[in-house]
Amino acid sequence: MDEIAQLRQTYFQECDEVLSEFEAHLMALDEGRGNAETLRAAFRAIHSIKGGASAFGYRRLVNFAHALETLLDKLRNGSATLTADTISLLLRAADIVADLVRAAQSGGELIEKHEGAVLDALVLRADAGALAVAPDAAPTVASVNLTPAPAGKYHYRIAFNPRSDLFQRGIEPQLMIAELRQTGSLAVTADAGAVPTIEAFDPKRNYLSWAFELETATPSETVAETLSFVADDDELAILNLDRAVGNGVPQNPATEATKATEDSNGDTAAGSARPSADIAPRPLAGSGDDALGIAPVVSSIRVDLHKLDTLVNLVGELVISQAMLNEQLSLVPTDKFPGLIRGVQELSQHARNLQESVMSMRAQPVKLVFARLPRLVREVAAETGKRIRLLMIGEDTEIDKTVIEHLHDPLTHMIRNAIDHGIETPEERATMGKPPEGLIRVSASHIGGKIVIQLADDGRGINRQKVLARAIEKGIVTRDQQLNDEQIDNLIFAPGLSTATTVSNISGRGVGMDIVRRNIQRLGGRITIRSTPGIESIFYLSLPLTLAVLDGMVVRVGGETYVVPLSNMVETLRPQPGQVRTLVGGGDVLSLRGEYVPMVYLHRKFAVSQANTDISKALVMLVETDASMRIGLVVDEIVGQQQVVIKSLESNYDAIHGIGGATILGNGRVALIVDVSMLLTGGISPDSPLVSNAA
């Protein structure tokens, strides 16, 4: 990848992060947790996106970001008022920015005027200035303590000596200069003395520096802030000459000494691009009571995900090789070569530790998913006319990137359902003695080597009578089936089951929760629900910490070895005489506790020779598919439980129906990982009638 492409990729990655932060700032302001610094941070976020867009020539994005930035600027300096409507507008604007960024990244073009309506609204709102809030209008956001712009003029001398990596950081000085011009009267002098000849010129490096003389009514904190996110402290020196005029504002005594020194040295600095030694570095902009605590320094570097995936893969290979070594070592008598045995044991430990460390590099906090929930709750609550409080716990719980990417859709659907069906309207809640505001609690924690996410609401709970009646009506269960409360609650995951009397655009079509469960199970996870009518409903999602390794049961079929994911397994048994019946259309079923479970003979499915064909000597593993169907896998022998490193079959060979991947066991042999959900395809239909009793 060439340098420019690399810079562009970094820019787009940063846009994602910055937009996420921008939205978080807006939600903080909406919930009354924000202050002037929050607004300034929101401004900086959009400003940095605009800067990079300009450097790469993304005109539409620049224009839109500029309009958004203008409104944010007015909000931060107090010339526009922040209301709930303004927050809604800013959130819509954030979506447009995300659309424009995606279009720029993909090289596509959005339809003309895609951003037109929101752009017009931003301009109108910015032009309107301070808005009067009508008495019965939406409640304003908790008042934000904005630093008022003082009267009078200030004169600054600014020395900007950017480092050579200025352009690699995506900074275009012209934008910064344009920003300064907007604050007042600006004189710019550049020093091009360091520019070499074209033969020695490195296009990636910056060779220029600047000196600015700025006369403005803007206080120094705002000027410093405008410059702070494009320039680090070591690149910038701001001298506030502080010629406040017109209102008798006393001069800042802190700058008196500096000014005197400058005068006595006769160093005009003006016209000189290099900072005078007398110019003290500017202090970091603080905002008095609004200043946030200084966060501890955290050092990190950005690493290409592909490189990390390669590392994870290599460590997986190392673990496999180490397992093979262990296997061979088990053949060596323990009293011989004790040093070798000890060495290999230590190697095993180091390999495991290395694997854990490497996996943790790819782990990300669930905060990345949870961060989108407040906005979702806000929007769905507004659509349904309900009041919801969202509580998030355990946001720093980490989970592999491969799993986290799949979490957003299930959580979104469950929250929509909880608000639409679960939580009552404020009036209903009042009659039940509940607070008018419903509560949704989302928590994440590590339990038993898995990540467990709970989503609870204090709504009306599951109406079991209605669910059972609908399930019987749809043929999902029969009238005479005896189900306990938990089993009835979990019927909501059945396809086509919705007890909603109306279909809203939020939920009610009956196709959501079964897909949620299927997607969770595809990740090797589980989802269940527990409900107390009138009180609460709690969903429990249990997911593996990573998709790179799998806990499986190693089984033997003939001369071949397979791995069955533990997350699919229910129980194993040896069938008794008469338990196996043969259907008219072909295929066997296992009679088990009043149910008939289709059987799949792995040796037939995968054409394995020399396998046991005598069912009385075989083992049946009862497994559950994605669609919550149970099937009985017939195998010769269970070898043992093991954690295996998953290798993709598609990337190394080709897709095989019924096989979800492969692994290499300690004995060096390849074992195929069974994809339980695919085994029934083309096989026995559960609707096939029973026929004769087979042996």
């Binding site: 790469f56 020539g57 002098t189 074209i198 010129f201 296009p203 910056n206 060779y207 220029l208």
Partner: protein, 98 residues
């Protein structure tokens, strides 16, 4: 680019960061010729600072090698960008041909 007695470098409309590679090569080639150089800036509608630097570097080479050079028909954007960056005096030290 080279035509007769002079070496002409026609600047494209967009001189953003993506164009720096091509611009750098063109200016290097021009500096390697022993002919007067004409930088045609009529079409320029976008000029990034990184490309302004390249032009300054090229001018340094031309001066060092005593190669006559000029900027022909600079667009408004070309001139205002130099001015905005505080480099108007640098531009005015070059020959400008309308």
């Amino acid at each position: 680019m080279t035509k007769g007695a002079e070496c002409r470098v026609a600047l494209p409309a967009r001189l953003d960061i993506a164009a720096i590679g091509t611009l750098h090569k063109a200016l290097l080639a021009a500096a390697g010729q022993k002919k007067p150089v004409v930088i045609d800036a009529e079409q320029v509608t976008t000029l990034s600072t990184v490309c302004v630097q390249a032009l300054l570097a090229a001018a340094n080479s031309f001066r060092q090698r005593k190669i006559p050079f000029c900027v022909a028909r600079p667009s408004d954007v070309f001139v205002t960008t130099f001015d905005g960056l505080g480099l108007f005096s640098s531009l005015m030290s070059w020959e400008v041909r309308q």
